[in-house]
Each structure stands twice: as structure tokens, then as C-alpha cells.
Symmetry: C2
Subunit: 230 residues, 2 copies
């Protein structure tokens, strides 16, 4: 019988934010898969390792999917990744593919999930705590109350328009474009809070744009809240 | 020494989706607090009880905060709730306040958190898996990829405008207004998927608006995705 693939969210960084289900599946699956050429160095693997001592003994599969805007290249990488996973499934092995945060939110796992289902295999999405929830908790910040809207915006795209939306805006992966985003926020009355490397080494929280640098790391989340009483 | 308050997200319903940290804190805290007049009947308590056998022996505090649009009434209830929590903290007891999903997203706990901090006590937000992540995973649905935006909209408010936003829309607590929302979606080409009672008894998933009833329960999440290949 063929194995089953699990897309397991390992949460935002703190190993204690893994779910009981994630821990169980990591222990039960014969094969652990993670994104990247050097699987043992990947953030998702290190988080899982802290929460699940002993996984070093398992078969480890690195799925190399470098970021690229070339559609053909991307498709080729996803197909190759799916082929590697399918290979393990066909041997009757269950596979836990580890992904940061939640697998439904901006994970490259989604592309593999789709392809594995299309190949006729079983695959399941296993929820994790999204990075923005943990960053918000670390900053002691509620995201939305009552009738407020919540907007999650990949900051490499149309931030200018998105900042005009009502409610709370979460700008993901602001990184190198932080200077530009600060400029867009300058004349607005929002509360702005930024969390860099949440739950990981080098974690830092900035309250207000005047504190923030013009460039930040990849794991940066920016919260823009409409002016309100604390 | 005064105790500390933890606002603990217990996730969306499946007890296996509690985090390791939530389980640890529930075991460590002397007092468990939950919203409602009948604390043992609350959804958050039942989820925690399944994941943490033995919590029945702990001191249990029901914080009654009925929904109302009367601001004065609301404020009075929050103050009364905060007073009950403070009472336990002053006795040196740590308190785990259990809340469905994630405490930063539409939880009534946020109001108490704020008040307890203002009273000079320690309080910490402990992330959980939001209900919409679990509902999305249950439906086998990715929420957002690459540069897509994600919008979380309380459906009792301006759905018409919100449905025009780019990317994926999540309509929360659609419940009684489902007929109206279906009407608004009728001439659009979105993929619409609805999950009722995710991970709880009576769970049901609907694919497409023609399948959906005109009214649904309180724990209903609706996903509206721009037309795309599966």
C-alpha cells in the first residue's frame, strides 16, 4: 500500500508552538521532507528537531525549490519535488513535509500537495500557528476585535493601495522594501509595529516607524493598525 | 507575589491542534478561566479537557461576557470579568484563560488582557491555530500563494465591498446572513467553499454556492477564492 503525505505546519519558530498533531505525525512518519538543498539547515527542520528529539534517525528528504519568477523553471522544480515525494510514497512510506507557520498560508508545500493529489496519492494539510499570530502575540498586540477587517498583504506587491483598507493590515516579508513602506506610512496616523525573527535568534520588536531601519531580514512582519486607544 | 495571566488559544476544535505550550500552561496554571456562565459547557473548555485530562481538578472560573452592542453594558462586563481574574492573580495564582482559535483574532479575551495590564499585572498572549486555518486545511484548500492577498471579513458587516478585493476572502461568522452573501456571490466567478463546525460534531463542508443552505450555524467559515486552476 502506498504511503500518505502530510503537509505539516511547524509554526513560527518557537518549538513549543508545534501542535500535538504535528509532533505525533513527525514521530509516526518514516520520512521527513523539508524545503531546501541542505535539509538539516532548514528553519522548519531545526524547529521540529527541538520539539521532537530523535528525528535525526529518520530518512530525510531535501526538496530543492529555489525562488524564481520564471514559470517554467518553477514548474520544473515542483514536478521534480513531487517526483521525489512520490518515490517515497510508492515505497509505502508515510512522509511528513515540514513547513513554517501554516501550510495553507504562503507555503511552497501547496504546489507539491496539488501535484501529489493529481498523481492519485493521499495528502493531508495539517494546520500550524501562522507566523503573524505569533508575532502579534510577542508584541502584546491584538490583531482584530469585533467587526474589524484583517488584511494580509505580501509587501513586495501593492502596499500603497492596501494600506488604505479599513481595519488591521499585516505586511509580510517587507524586508528590503521597508524604506519605501515607511515612506508610505509617514503621513498616516496608524499604529505601526514590526517584529523581526519572531521566536528565533535575533528577534526584535519595533514600536513606531521612527524606530525602524530602512531594511530588514526575510522574517519580518509589519502590523499597521488604525489609530485606536492602545 | 501576584500570579500571571495567560490568554491561551486552544485552536479550532480538534484537541490535537492544541500547541505544546498551551498544554503545558493548562497543566501548570492553578486556575482555568473560560468565557461563559457555564464554564464546563464552553467549547474552549471541552477542547482543553480532551487534550489535558485531569484539568477537572483545577479551580475553574467562568467569565460571563454576553454579546451586546450596548457599549456601557460591554464595558461593565469586561470590568467585572477583569475583577474576577485580578482576584485570582492577587492570591498568587497563575490563570490560563482559554480562548477558541488564536487569542489575537476576534477573541473577547483581548478586552480582559488590556484591562489586566492596565491594573499592573503580567499577562501573556499564547498563540493558537486560528479557526480559518483549520477549516481551510479540512477543505483541502490552500488559502494564499506567492503574491496573493488574504482578507478576513466579519460577515455581519460590509461584505459587498469586501468581496471586490483581490486575492482570497475569508468570511467569518456568516451564519444567518448566508442567504444574502450567496446573492452577492451569484454573478461572480469565484470558487466558494464553506466549512461549518470545523473539527466539531456536525462538521460539514460545502463546495460551491448551489450546495449551501441560506442559513448556517455560528461556527461557519466561508472561503471566496478568485477563479483559478484547482
Amino acid at each position: 500500500m502506498a504511503g500518505k503525505l502530510y503537509g505539516v505546519g511547524v509554526g513560527p519558530g518557537d518549538p513549543e508552538l508545534l501542535t500535538l498533531k504535528a509532533v505525533r505525525l513527525i514521530h509516526e512518519c518514516e520520512v521527513i521532507a523539508v524545503p531546501g538543498k541542505a535539509p538539516r539547515e532548514s528553519a522548519a527542520y531545526k524547529i521540529a528537531q527541538s520539539a521532537c528529539p530523535g528525528i535525526e534517525a529518520k530518512e530525510l528528504l531535501g526538496i530543492h525549490m529555489p525562488m524564481t519568477k520564471d514559470e517554467a523553471e518553477l514548474s520544473k522544480n515542483h514536478e521534480e519535488g513531487a517526483r521525489l515525494l512520490e518515490n517515497a510514497l510508492k515505497q509505502g512510506k508515510d512522509v511528513a513535509f515540514l513547513t513554517l507557520g501554516d501550510p495553507c498560508i504562503y507555503s511552497t508545500y501547496l504546489y507539491l500537495h496539488q501535484r501529489i493529489l493529481e498523481k492519485g496519492h493521499e495528502a493531508e494539510l495539517v494546520s500550524g500557528v501562522p507566523s503573524f499570530c505569533a508575532a502579534s502575540a510577542r508584541a502584546g498586540l491584538g490583531l482584530v476585535k469585533g467587526g474589524e477587517q484583517l488584511h494580509v498583504i505580501p509587501a513586495s506587491y501593492h502596499t500603497e493601495e492596501a494600506l488604505k483598507l479599513p481595519g488591521t493590515k499585516i505586511l509580510m516579508k517587507t524586508g528590503k522594501r521597508l524604506g519605501k513602506v515607511k515612506e508610505q506610512l509617514k503621513d498616516r496616523k496608524d499604529r505601526v509595529i514590526m517584529v523581526e525573527n519572531c521566536g528565533m535568534p535575533g528577534e526584535r520588536i519595533y514600536y513606531g516607524i521612527s524606530e525602524m531601519p530602512d531594511s530588514a531580514g526575510y522574517y519580518t512582519v509589519l502590523f499597521v493598525k488604525e489609530d485606536e486607544k492602545a
